[in-house]
Every structure is written in structure tokens, then in C-alpha cells.
């Protein structure tokens, strides 16, 4: 076994982690655009967008479970040793938050439609069982929570992209490359 070399360059992530990261990143961006559009712009495409939102949402729930299992069973390259500790803390904290929001958003989507008494059908006609019975007050609260979580996730993602670019363009410490497979 070789110890991680303290060269200031981070080792790359495993293949599976990189694939999961970029597939999920693309799908989450699609979900954010579709969700914001359907909730805020009245259009004739509502039903189609909503079906897409539910279907990709459940796909993401599945992927985030796989990803969390992968995260705990697979190696994660350490951050560069010379990264100031407040930045290390921010990195770890923001990653925990990203996982939390990615997991909570589809779960809250599922719970809120269940509480509201909406049938949940995916693209292709697959029926998802409700997580709970009819609770109209809970539906109102969870619908609100879904929006807040989505806005929180947007801020986290923007900060995450900024931080990745900071590593890649300013510090040039190999952290960005570790998720590009370099």
C-alpha cells in the first residue's frame, strides 16, 4: 500500500465515481430547469414537463442511493495537504450538504405528491406507490420545502462550480482534474 503522496496534486477519483458525478450533474441541471420552468411559466407543455420531472426525479433518487453506497465503499482522494483548513472544512461541509439536498429533494417530491393525494405515474405508465396517506396540510408544507430545498441546491451548485474553478484556474492544485479523470 502506498501512502497518498504529498505533492499538492490530488489523485483522480475512481471511474464509477466520475461517471456518477457527471451523469447526475447533467440530470440535476435538467431537473432544476424543468422544475423552475413548469412552476413559474404557464405553458401548454405542463403535463409533459411534469411527467419528465417525476421520471428523472425518481431516476436521480435511485442514482443518489448508488452514489452514497459508492462513496462509503470506494476510495475518495484526499484534498491537497496545503489547502488551508477553513477551506477544507468548507469543502467537506458543502459536499455533505450537496448529498443531503440531492437525496432530500426527490424524497420530498415523492412525499408531497403522496400527501396531496396525487397519483404518481412515471413516463411509460409505471405507478409509484404513495409514501403516505392524504394529508393536505403536510402537502402544503412539503411543497414549500421542495422549493426551498431546490433554491438551496442551486446556491450550493453555484458555489461548488465556483470552488472547482478556483482549484482549477487559480490554485491549479489538481482538485478539479481529479473529477475530470486526470
Amino acid at each position: 500500500m502506498s501512502l497518498p503522496q504529498n505533492t499538492g496534486k490530488a489523485a483522480p477519483f475512481p471511474r464509477l465515481s466520475i461517471m456518477l458525478h457527471w451523469i447526475m450533474a447533467a440530470l440535476i441541471l435538467v431537473m432544476l430547469f424543468v422544475g423552475l420552468f413548469m412552476a413559474h411559466i404557464s405553458s401548454i407543455h405542463y403535463a409533459g414537463l411534469f411527467t419528465l420531472h417525476r421520471t428523472v426525479g425518481f431516476l436521480l433518487l435511485l442514482l443518489v442511493v448508488i452514489r452514497l453506497i459508492n462513496r462509503f465503499t470506494n476510495r475518495t482522494p484526499p484534498l491537497p495537504a496545503d489547502l488551508p483548513s477553513p477551506m477544507k472544512l468548507a469543502a467537506h461541509l458543502s459536499h455533505i450538504l450537496l448529498y443531503g439536498f440531492m437525496f432530500a429533494l426527490p424524497l420530498v417530491g415523492w412525499a408531497m405528491l403522496s400527501a396531496g393525494g396525487y397519483p404518481i405515474t412515471l413516463w411509460g405508465g409505471c405507478h409509484i406507490p404513495p409514501l403516505m396517506g392524504f394529508h393536505p396540510h403536510l402537502w402544503g408544507a412539503l411543497r414549500c420545502l421542495h422549493s426551498l430545498l431546490a433554491y438551496g441546491l442551486i446556491l450550493l451548485i453555484l458555489a461548488h462550480i465556483g470552488a472547482a474553478l478556483l482549484h482549477g484556474v487559480i490554485r491549479r492544485d489538481g482538485v478539479m482534474g481529479s473529477m475530470l479523470g486526470r
Binding site: L36, F37, M38, H40, I44, G116, Y118, L158, L165, R171
Partner: protein
Amino acid sequence: MARSPHSASPARWAAVILPPLCLGGFLAWSAGLLTPASISPSHFMQRFHNAGAPNTGFRRAHAKGMCVTGWFDPSPEGRALSHAGVFKGEHLPVIGRFSLAPPLPYLPDNPNIARSLALQIRTPSGDDWRMALVDMPLQSMRDIADAYAFFKAARLDPVTHKPDPEAVKAYAAQRPWLNTAFEQAKAHQQPSDLTNDTYNSLDSFILTNDAGKKTAVRWAVQAKEPFRPAEGSGANDGNYLFKRLVQTLDERPLSWDIVATIAREGDPVNDPSQPWNDADQKVTVGTVTFTKAYSEDENPCGPMVFDPTILPEGISVSQDPLLALRASVYMKSYATRSAEHKTPSMVTPNDVANPTLTSDEKGQ
């Protein structure tokens, strides 16, 4: 070694800051934040509020109502049109909600108001068919832009507490394509009661049968009770329409036929403001029978949503733009009111238990 941030050029810093900023901008744009002219469900909520809808837990439209329960019995003709589970032949439970169309939960009943009926029919295997119907013959809007202008014209004048008749006239005058809809509305004879009224989907739906054949239909929930005109039927009780419905249900069950009008070549399927050919075939797909009434404060029909796009496999939405709009606006109204503290409904549990007409100060 990592480079020190102090030695980075402005171009590098721009490469760090601009990408997230641009993405944030695109996201804001997709939420309509950068296009003030776009129409959103929240804008509709504002228009309903201006038209008198309070923020005390009621529906933003069709706010005053009462629940009923009963049964649906499908006909074999329905099964030939659609393979939906609701038409398989089972005797199925129904929840219904009778309502007055305006956004005013405390509106006293009177003969001149449009009335509505919402239904939910469910099968034990989880099929769910919801309908929201009104007693108007045609829709007085044809698309999202019309709907937005229509509810603007419904704004209550802060002084008179009534819509401005000039705004309503201007809405109609600017839209010659709605002439037929307004003419038919004027010619429509209002029946005396909720019990002998006929309620229409206006929007169309697509039925698919076992062979995969698709049929475009409009629904009517057609009264079986004899027609009597509304003139002179107003009682001096603000809930007379609902109380008379309760009185009848206390004596006997009440039935309506669910009738599909089958579109023929040339019928405007995606425009609820235009009439279809009078000679179109009409098929009775089943009968709903109500047996019991409840105040909406003591029945799930009160809090739930009758979104007409919640449909079982075998029935689907047409390309009618107003159906797409209704799905999103009903969801917004439903989410908003569900998070509010609701005040008691005007038709109280006591009115349902004891539906004697009394002359109250709210009556006409």
C-alpha cells in the same frame, strides 16, 4: 505546489466567477425572473385575489361548495370507448363537490351565478378519475393569454365590490372568436337548482380502448331531474341552493348520466370556446348517484383538489392549452390554500344536518 491566489490575473478570476454567474442567470431566466411579461401560476393567484379570493384556506376559484358521496355505475358503451379501469363494470365509490364558480367563499346563493360540479371516481386497484365541470355551454377563453385577460377583467372594484362591467365588455369586444361562446352563455337557461343542472367539462379528453383506437370527447354530467327555470326560485336564504340539494338527498338518491360527445372530423378538439357539430354522437358511459351530503369542513372533498388532468390509464388530456394551464394553476391554488389557516365554510355541518330554509340577512 498550489499557486498563490494573489498572483492570479483578472482573466483567471473571471474564469472562476463568470460560469456560476451565467448558470445562475439561466436558472433565473427559466423561472421567468428576467421576463416580467411571462405569465405564471402566481400571477393567476394575484388575479384571483383581486377578483375577491381571500387568503383563508379556500379554493381560489369555485370557493363556495359542499361535498356529496355516492356511486358510479359504468355502462358497456363506456368500455367500448376506453379501457380505463373505471369502465370495467364495477360499482365504484364517488366523491363529489357542488360549488358556485366565483372565488368568493361567502357568496349568498342566487339564480344568476354559474354553478359547478367536481367528481372523483376511484377503483380498488388505484385508478383515479377526477373531473371539474361547470354549467356553462362553452368556455369564454380559448388559450392561456385569454384566461389571463379574463381574470383581469374579473377584478372587483374596490369601491363597488363588483367587477367593472366595462372591463368585461372590453374583454369580449376585443375577442371576436369568443362571440359564439358569449351568445350561447346569454341564451343558456339556468335551471332552478343544483339538482336539475347539467355540468360540462368544456375541455376535451382522449379516450383509448383495448384496440388502441382513440376518440376525442367532451363530457357532460347530465341531469336526470326535470328542468325548471331559475326565475322566481330564489329563496330568502343565502344557502338555498345547497340546502335544497341536501333536502332532496335526505328523501332520495339523485342521479346524473355521464355523457361523452364524440368529436367528428372538423370539430375543434383543442379549443373549448368553439361549439362542436350538433349532430355529434352522444354516448352515456355511466351514471353517478349521490346519496349523502356533507359540509366541506367534514369531508375530504373540502381539502382535496379536483384537477381534471388526474386521469386513469385509458383517458388522457387533449392538446387543449387550457387543460395544461389548469393543471399548474390548480396545483398552485391547492398548495397555497393547504398552507393557510381555513375559516369555516358557509355551508356548515349544521346546515347539512338541518337544511330548513330560513330567511337570513345574507339572502337575496
